[in-house]
Symmetry: C2
Subunit: 492 residues, 2 copies
Amino acid sequence: MSKKLTSRAADYSKWYNELVVKADLAENSAVRGCMVIKPYGYAIWEKMQAELDKMFKETGHQNAYFPLFVPKSLFEAEEKNAEGFAKECAIVTHYRLQNDPDKPGKLRVDPEAKLEEELIVRPTSEAIIWNTYRGWIQSYRDLPILVNQWANVVRWEMRTRLFLRTAEFLWQEGHTAHETKQEALDEAALMNNVYATFVEKFMAIPVVQGLKTESERFAGAVETFCIEALMQDGKALQAGTSHFLGQNFAKAFDVKYVNKEGKQDHVWATSWGVSTRLMGALIMTHSDDNGLVLPPSLAPNQVVIVPIYKSEEQLKAITNVVNGIMSDLRKKGITVKYDNRTTHRPGAKFAQHELQGVPVRLAIGARDLENGTVELARRDTLTKETVELNKLTKTVESLMTEIQESLFNKALNFRNTHTTEVDTFEDFKTVLETKTGFISAHWDGTSETEDKIKELTKATIRCIPLDAKEETGVCVYSGKPSKRRVLFAKAY
Amino acid sequence: MSKKLTSRAADYSKWYNELVVKADLAENSAVRGCMVIKPYGYAIWEKMQAELDKMFKETGHQNAYFPLFVPKSLFEAEEKNAEGFAKECAIVTHYRLQNDPDKPGKLRVDPEAKLEEELIVRPTSEAIIWNTYRGWIQSYRDLPILVNQWANVVRWEMRTRLFLRTAEFLWQEGHTAHETKQEALDEAALMNNVYATFVEKFMAIPVVQGLKTESERFAGAVETFCIEALMQDGKALQAGTSHFLGQNFAKAFDVKYVNKEGKQDHVWATSWGVSTRLMGALIMTHSDDNGLVLPPSLAPNQVVIVPIYKSEEQLKAITNVVNGIMSDLRKKGITVKYDNRTTHRPGAKFAQHELQGVPVRLAIGARDLENGTVELARRDTLTKETVELNKLTKTVESLMTEIQESLFNKALNFRNTHTTEVDTFEDFKTVLETKTGFISAHWDGTSETEDKIKELTKATIRCIPLDAKEETGVCVYSGKPSKRRVLFAKAY
Ligand SMILES: [Zn+2]
Ligand SMILES: [Zn+2]
């Protein structure tokens, strides 16, 4: 905890890795690519979960739970989906260990306990869920099915980074079934919008809503909606996706329903998910060289109070005042922690709370007691002011809103100044390398051009924005005609 | 849904299996021994989770998340623990699939993608967590660590039953680290008491708190606290366990701390858990031949309202009244659902809500509108009464408490009448086979006697009750001296 963080300017990637560990958010584990989410990091994730879960329920969804494992024969049923995930699957082949005859005290896999059919640790649950839905759906009366699952999934990534790309991660995955194509399309758009609202209002991160190009779509999807955010290093981060799956899974798993006219048809599907990757977006959007910066709505402690004292008597007097402050703040729904640890000095406490991004820090010493004041420090602006005790609750309460909005506006301003319209491929490359950020450019709509641009610049099409204006132009690379601009960026 | 349940008297086990499926709680999946928890069942589990989580946090615990996988070398480090779980482990050996050259469109495990070290899907997380704690603990200042995890675990059981014994199940596992033996013992006892309070107050299930005998202890524990409940068929069900682990895991994973005197010592540990098995206890304690019976504190819908109408106009008038009722009930914190589905007749709705255990059902027809009344049906007693509209909120509110208490008292009365003191082995066998339930008997304290009794009767020692009186007697089997009675039963 003692050493300073590497600065963003010096090494953005190192800054991120150090911050995650030093702020007690997560750490690497003994299992390749799997992380331990530490209590402080998990408390932030729990706040995200609670709010998302509320939003899912308000839009009519229920939670359920499906198996961790997918039998190989089900996994391969929807071919494109299987193809997309086959190369990163953890596979269970045996169900028993035995004593190793060659090494006393050690165990080995029991060769007799081989599974007849291998089990895939779910990288996503469409297969197992659609195989289940076949039993749930007979008629239009059984539709829609609006189900969400909170779960862990495993994708055997070769290069991993805490929160951003881990072999195991936590997420939610919604899986819905509908009578009509339009209803499923509407659901996919609705949930993408729920994500956008959540990320903007609660995480204070501005996002662009859009559609993925064919090559960036989820394996097995007909259309993928997404929300894209911009990090401080000018790279984009896909923060959530919502897929219109057409009838692909219904056909692969033979899920039919009898409609109101008595005719059979395959069901229409969506799936949508966000994951602990959002933690990475949160960290990289707001934090600074001093550590984490948290929007009040996601801070486990919105306010921390540190007593500055020289004697037990002073501490007692301060504690009396603090108890009143805490009671007043809690009545306003503000979470507050009194850091009266005797094992740490005030300076160390200040440093820790700054590193961990507590939005507001109050300090109270003997002089404050005399003057009826408190020292208030804002984490986002790193500014301090002296506040009269009788105005403290109001001040803190309005700061909660102010900080939340200020963080969003700062990030929005960054994104706006780092979104550039370009019309030539020379400008494209220059902006990408110097100014960085989103590049709004015309594209001819072909995968060939998309691939070529990626190969030449490492930039990918992040999305075709939902609000893209119709505008005739020519492709920045091929010169062929184009009807709208799309957003390019280097991405996480 | 149309067919009646098998009665408990006819076939208790079949009754249970049918009820779980017909009440939409869970079903078997395509993966051997793994279940799908359906939305209605999951909603009950969510209520358990929320309350337990609150109780854990009130006792100073924080949540975190540790990897799903345990490398074999860590898994085998604590030998007794490893031995206890080795025979029921799902094992990941490969990390990639490839196209099967012999079967177009099919996949096979890529033989090139074999892991150097096999990964065990966690059957419990002591190993991976204590390997992590080594990095978190240096001095007494880092203690205690009070961490809980909500997670899925896998134990490859050969004979499975929905909720009661499944290959994958959901649970929470607390893992704490302490400076002293006494502090760890106190923690283990405290958490067992938290479980007892939760199960009695929220699930309305009376439990006996006790200690496990050596042969029934958790693998790797020095002492196992437990709560034991009695099901309606006279069999016991272990509803939760809390383990004092001594320094076993600290030694296996070399977790030491420097104490206040500057000396190094190994840390003391506990772990404690409850699982979706509690769903089985809930179902088997309260339900009847008509289906599920839910205590109000765990019912996803505490009240359901069914309109009885012959015309659109009647429905409109009823709905007006219902809106007022719902608003009044919700103000009192009561969850209420208006079942105005047009796809089902009132009779079918009544049957469904009875099967699904909704504590209170209200029905309103045209005559009720004229009379200013509502028909109120209680699920637990299957009684009906007519209630005046202006007394409805109060009536329902007090019923919430009354039903909760009544269910607990009914279960307590059942347990009391099915707990029998016996002093001879003949009586032991007779009571076990005819009256069933808990048998309170003297035992000589040896594993030999315990094993012999189990072999002869299938009864096991459920626990040595914490409140067992000192009482000199002789072992019901061996005739050797004994100082207190223990509880025997056949068990799930
Ligand atoms: Zn810039
Ligand atoms: Zn009886």
